[in-house]
């Protein structure tokens, strides 16, 4: 072994490869700039604004924690936050239905399975504003839903006003969300189930396991990661729910204004940007707490390791 052969590669590595620098800068600078501009700058501004009494154009001065205190002291905001419980309940039903239909379509020989899958999935591709009109029409007194219910024996007088009556209208809105996202969840579950080794089912059938036992012993463990991601997305989605109330519920009319709708109105209608930022901070803190708690739960209780950008970064072998 000569000295030169070990020294030379080190020397070569020290020489700057300008072409490499050029390609890195040229390819990374724009996405990085946009990431900072639309994610990190708004983030820092949000923290800053939340301590001020200000509109978009006028700053009336530093107010300390006043904005935050108001979020927790006004029952209006706490009530709006509690509306997410409706959406969480809906999310649980949605996940259960999605899992049910995913297992039927994956395990049973269903004729035309692809057609069912496509039909159940399609609502996910419907424009949100279109969903608004479709369901306003659907829920209007005596229209689509009422006609169907009358056909199966309900009398119109016993039916509520689905979007106006405050005892049911939040459930009506939650239903539109389940309608839109259930098929999407199902497609994700079908994908996860498809990645399970099919010989496991054969072995289980030979061992005399019934469908329910197969589901518990093979499918559930096999789709754990996707299930937990869907769960996190559903819970955080419930906390920041706004789509149904925005498009179907006429911007949160009749007691359907979720917390995000309140933030939106605070910023763009009342022009109280500082207050809106404090509310957004509270929302974000709640979402982060829920996400971290669920991740910790899955990591330590289920002993599940996750696939992140970072895990990949450590594994990845750079070429140049």
């Amino acid at each position: 072994m000569s000295m030169t052969s070990t020294v030379q590669p080190d020397l070569r590595r020290k020489r700057i490869n300008w072409q490499k620098v050029a390609v890195i800068v040229a390819f990374a600078v724009v996405p990085l700039f946009l990431l900072i501009l639309f994610t990190y700058v708004p983030f820092v501004k949000m923290i800053q604004f939340s301590f001020y009494n200000m509109s978009y154009t006028k700053n009336k001065g530093f107010v300390g924690l006043d904005n935050y205190l108001r979020v927790f002291s006004k029952s209006e905001y706490v009530g709006a936050m509690l509306l997410s419980l409706y959406y969480m309940a809906g999310a649980v039903v949605q996940l259960a239905l999605a899992l049910f239909f995913a297992s039927i379509l994956s395990l049973e020989r269903i004729r035309g399975g692809g057609v069912y899958k496509a039909i159940l999935f399609f609502p996910f591709l419907v424009n949100g504003i279109a969903i608004g009109y479709i369901f306003k029409y659907f829920y209007t007194r005596g229209f689509v839903l009422d006609s169907v219910l009358q056909a199966i024996g309900f009398s119109l007088d016993s039916l509520p006003y689905w979007l106006r009556d405050q005892s049911v209208n939040n459930w009506s809105l939650v239903f539109t969300s389940v309608w839109k996202y259930c098929g999407q969840n199902m497609v994700l579950f079908i994908g996860a189930i498809a990645s399970i080794d099919p010989t496991l089912y054969e072995a289980a059938t030979i061992d005399g396991a019934n469908r329910w036992q197969q589901f518990k012993a093979i499918i559930l463990p096999g789709i754990k990661t996707v299930f937990m991601l869907n769960l996190i997305l559903s819970i955080t989605g419930s906390l920041s729910a706004f789509e149904p109330a925005y498009v179907v519920g006429s911007m949160g009319a009749n007691g359907t204004a979720t917390f995000f709708i309140k933030i939106h109105q605070m910023a763009h209608v009342s022009q109280k940007v500082g207050q809106a930022c404090a509310m957004a901070m509270v929302l974000m803190a709640l979402i982060l707490i829920f996400t971290v708690l669920q991740r910790l739960f899955f990591r330590y209780v289920m002993k599940d390791s996750e696939n992140t950008f970072n895990a990949k970064a450590n594994k990845a072998k750079a070429l140049w």
Partner: protein, 291 residues
């Protein structure tokens, strides 16, 4: 015939009957779910063929008298200026898809193929960004857009739509990990530049990832309404979403006309879905695992 074979036969029949019952129930559940998934859309479809008089007098579930009554479609197309809205949406979709594909693939190439100080930092910045709920930052994003002069600017809207997406980067990153580095190496040894490697060799190879990102992003941008309503309030630049949103003004509660507009906006999504069904499903899966 012995008793045991009889017993086996009866349990077999019992099992078969049970299977048939379960199977029937499964089909019924699927059919019911499909009915619920389709009912809101189909009822809008039938309503869109009704005349004003018919709409006012008939039940919502009654079928239209004339299935070839396209008057509502004509009216919504003309009075709702839908052609203009479709063209605006189409240009937004094309620009955003091209920009996202280029940015995503270029960044993924650099992050995956090159070792340099900051590689890990950039990955972390993008990863942490997935944890920050974008929706919570609408308020201050609006302030930035305002200061950049991007209110009522179609260019600003396009930039915003292209700049806030991690999923396409992630999809490309996954794809590059499975592309063999030997290709790049031999090309560089033969005197190809890094730019040449990317544009001439790797980019064409990522076609499946490009289609996935394009379909996913395209449908997403086409259906986007929150930012469109916030940033494109003037009549000059109306996307399909904002055009639809404005219908409640001129068409008030003439749902027969509004339903025609709703159905028209569904057509592009339906066509893309029917052609690229596999990519839509696959893209969702890779998008959701962004962890």
């Amino acid at each position: 015939m012995s008793n045991t074979t009889m017993a086996v036969r009866t349990t077999n029949t019992a099992a078969r009957v049970q299977r048939t019952v379960i199977k029937t129930l499964e089909y019924l559940a699927l059919l019911l779910a499909c009915f619920i998934a389709l009912l809101p859309i189909v009822s809008s479809f039938t309503t869109s063929f009704k005349t004003a008089e018919e709409y006012a007098t008939s039940n919502a579930m009654d079928l239209p008298r004339n299935w070839l009554n396209f008057e509502n479609y004509r009216q919504v197309w003309v009075d709702g200026e839908m052609l203009r809205a479709f063209l605006t949406s189409a240009s937004v979709v094309v620009v955003v898809v091209v920009v996202s594909v280029m940015m995503g693939s270029m960044l993924a190439y650099v992050l995956n193929r090159f070792r340099f100080p900051g590689n890990g930092l950039i990955r972390n910045l993008f990863m942490i960004a997935t944890l920050i709920p974008g929706i919570a930052m609408q308020v201050t994003t609006y302030d930035i857009m305002r200061q950049l002069g991007f209110l009522n600017s179609i260019v600003g809207y396009m930039i915003l739509m292209s700049g806030t997406d991690v999923i396409s980067i992630y999809i490309f990153l996954q794809y590059f990990e499975n592309l063999d580095g030997a290709l790049d190496e031999s090309a560089v040894l033969e005197g190809c530049t890094y730019f040449g490697v990317f544009f001439k060799i790797l980019l064409p190879l990522t076609k499946p990832a490009i289609i996935t990102v394009a379909v996913l992003k395209g449908v997403g941008v086409y259906n986007e309404y929150y930012n469109a309503n916030l940033y494109l309030q003037s009549n000059t630049w109306r996307t399909i979403s904002t055009a639809l949103y404005s219908f409640s003004g001129p068409f008030k509660s003439s749902y027969n006309i509004i339903c025609a507009g709703v159905l028209l906006t569904l057509i592009p999504s339906l066509i893309v879905f029917l052609i690229f069904q596999k990519q839509v499903y696959a893209g969702l899966a890779s998008g959701s695992v962004k962890g």
